[in-house]
């Protein structure tokens, strides 16, 4: 079998070192000498291998590499740091094997670039770890805030609407008593009627606020929701609230996956909006299409209301945006912003097209099936 001559090993593009069982350097090739910044082998022969490595490498050699060599006879792809004669640290990757006489053969190559990459990888990993920790903290804070929000909504719903309802009843009782006692005070009765209307507006706003805040509370988006049923229920709810009964033209809507309670509010608000702006004879036309890959449904809700100019289209989903006074068109000013939030919660989309004088069409796209990204933690 042919073997390398000394001059051939000196030409190799990797380092070779032979070390005796006491870890004393016996021989090496040119690459090894160059890496250690030595001219001749005499400069390193007789040194302990631990004298030509960094202190950290010493510990690593003793804790991992040497036990591995004794136990398994070899250690492969080991990252180490050699220390040159002048103290310069050179990262190397080494394969080491132990012979039957306990001497070890080391082959290695400098890996400055790879080491740089490793350093970058370690820095990136540390940064990611810190970010993951931050995210986890933020997540905990969000959960805490959501819990606070739920308590707040509960309190808003009970503690605000209760007194408002009582004020309303008290005004009604007072007016009734006064009328029974024959008191005639038209101006005062008008003032009390206005106060009653204002409490009604406050109640609407409070309910809107609760709905708006509740839309932020995480919910499971896993219900099977029949949109046919949702639209019918929404229309019934509006009728019970005393809204005008609209003429409705509708296609047969599909069943989707999402949060039933949110989708119900979403459609109720959209219908309410569609009815509100025609005080004579509201007509609602509902149609739908499914996109090419059958992953989402786009529902168009067209009304015959007053419409709006393009200048206002971008603002209709902003909370408390009113294009008209509360006396002209009642409402909390939150209905469409709640709709938008709930659509977004379902990873859907909403947009509006409108022509002043002839009405508006809202296009709502909602995924037909649940996706993992839709799952929100409870």
């Amino acid at each position: 079998m042919m073997s390398f001559t000394e001059s051939e090993t000196d030409q190799l593009a990797c380092g070779i070192l032979k070390i005796d069982k006491n870890r004393i350097l016996l021989s090496g090739n040119r690459y090894a000498l160059d890496l250690l910044l030595c001219e001749t082998m005499d400069e390193i022969t007789g040194l302990n291998i631990e004298e030509v490595v960094s202190l950290a490498t010493r510990i690593f050699l003793n804790s991992y590499t040497f036990p591995m060599l004794v136990n398994e006879g070899k250690a492969e792809e080991v990252q180490l740091s050699f220390k040159s004669k002048t103290g310069e640290i050179v990262p190397v990757v080494a394969n080491i094997q132990m012979n039957s006489d306990k001497t070890t053969d080391w082959t290695f190559m400098s890996c400055v670039n790879r080491n740089q990459l490793y350093n970058e990888l370690l820095t990136a990993r540390n940064t990611l770890q810190a970010q993951a920790q931050n995210l986890s903290q933020l997540n905990n804070q969000i959960h805490e805030r959501q819990s606070d929000l739920q308590t707040f909504c509960h309190s808003l719903s009970h503690d605000f609407t209760g007194p408002l309802r009582r004020i309303n009843q008290q005004i009604e009782c007072a007016v009734e008593d006064l009328k029974e006692n024959g008191v005639e005070a038209i101006d005062e009765f008008n003032l009390l009627e206005m106060a009653k209307n204002n409490t009604h507006t406050l109640m609407e706003i409070t309910n809107g606020l609760v709905e708006y805040l509740v839309a932020d509370v995480p919910t499971q988006l896993t219900d099977l929701v029949d949109l046919e049923e949702i639209v019918s229920t929404a229309l019934e709810m509006l009728e019970q609230q005393g809204s005008m009964k609209p003429e409705v033209h509708r296609t047969s809507l599909p069943t989707i996956v999402g949060s039933r309670s949110q989708i119900q509010v979403l459609f109720k608000n959209l219908m309410e909006n569609a009815i509100k702006y025609n005080k004579n004879y509201p007509v609602i036309t509902i149609s739908h299409t499914e996109n090419v890959d059958n992953s989402e449904v786009i529902i168009a809700i067209k009304d015959n209301g007053i419409g709006m100019s393009n200048d206002y289209i971008d603002t209709v989903f902003t909370p408390f945006t009113r294009l008209h006074t509360i006396d002209q068109y009642a409402g909390s000013g939150l209905g469409l912003s709640i709709v938008k939030k709930m659509v977004m919660n379902h990873n859907g989309n909403i947009r509006v097209e409108s022509t002043p004088g002839s009405g508006s069409t809202f296009f709502v796209s909602l995924p037909l099936r649940a996706s993992s990204s839709m799952e929100k933690p409870k």
């Binding site: 302990n48 950290a56 036990p67």
Partner: protein
Amino acid sequence: MIRHVTKEDILTRNNVTINGTGEKVLMLAHGFGCDQRMWRFVSSKLSKRYTLVMFDYVGSGNSDLSSFSVEKYSNLTGYAQDVLDIINVLSLKNITFVGHSVSSMIGLIASMDTSSAIAELVMVCPSPCFLNDLPEYEGGFERSDLEELLQLMDKNYIGWANYLAPLVMGANSAEALVGELSGSFCSTDPVVAKTFARATFFSDYRSLLPQCTARTLILQSASDSLASVKIGGYIHKHVANSELEIIQAEGHCLHMTDPDVTADSIVKFIG
């Protein structure tokens, strides 16, 4: 729900193996980096005279990785508690605890527990503190060297198993650790190994030495870059009932490189 930890749980957790014959029990505890297999070079000789109890620290060898917690094992007391658990469930009495390197200190901590049954300690290449505290104490390393060690370990782990697991599963989370150990002789889980490395190399147990009452043998290698002869002398000076034996050998793993001499010294010490 609090689950009662059974004897089997503890024996599985630490992959406890028992072999040999003899009334005298020797507990062999591996050091940082490897597992109980490092004792195989001395165990054949010792098992003829003694009953040998060997184990893997949680996170090493074939231990139960799911029992690992960064909190418990970030200082040596956590490892010492596991040693005491094993002693208790096996009802061991009057044992000799043979610890390599950092395990010498783990054994010392365990021996100080009042319920402990450790009568004798054999410290193989021990160091109570790897950090320099000059001029009084020469641990051998500066903090920067040890930080570099952690980096070097990391660079080696890149090529090993589980490197990205903690990131994928969430840093230091329990789930990150519910995996399988690679079964490799050297520990390859970065979270576990770095926790053990920090507990080993960044702590100072010198103040415990005078509190040790167990009869102690300190086996120091004549040439060990991790734990010098001077450190052996320091321990000998501060542990009242101790003997120091310098073995003419190279390196930090006497029980692997010079098993006969090591076994003979242990036998001679126990008598």
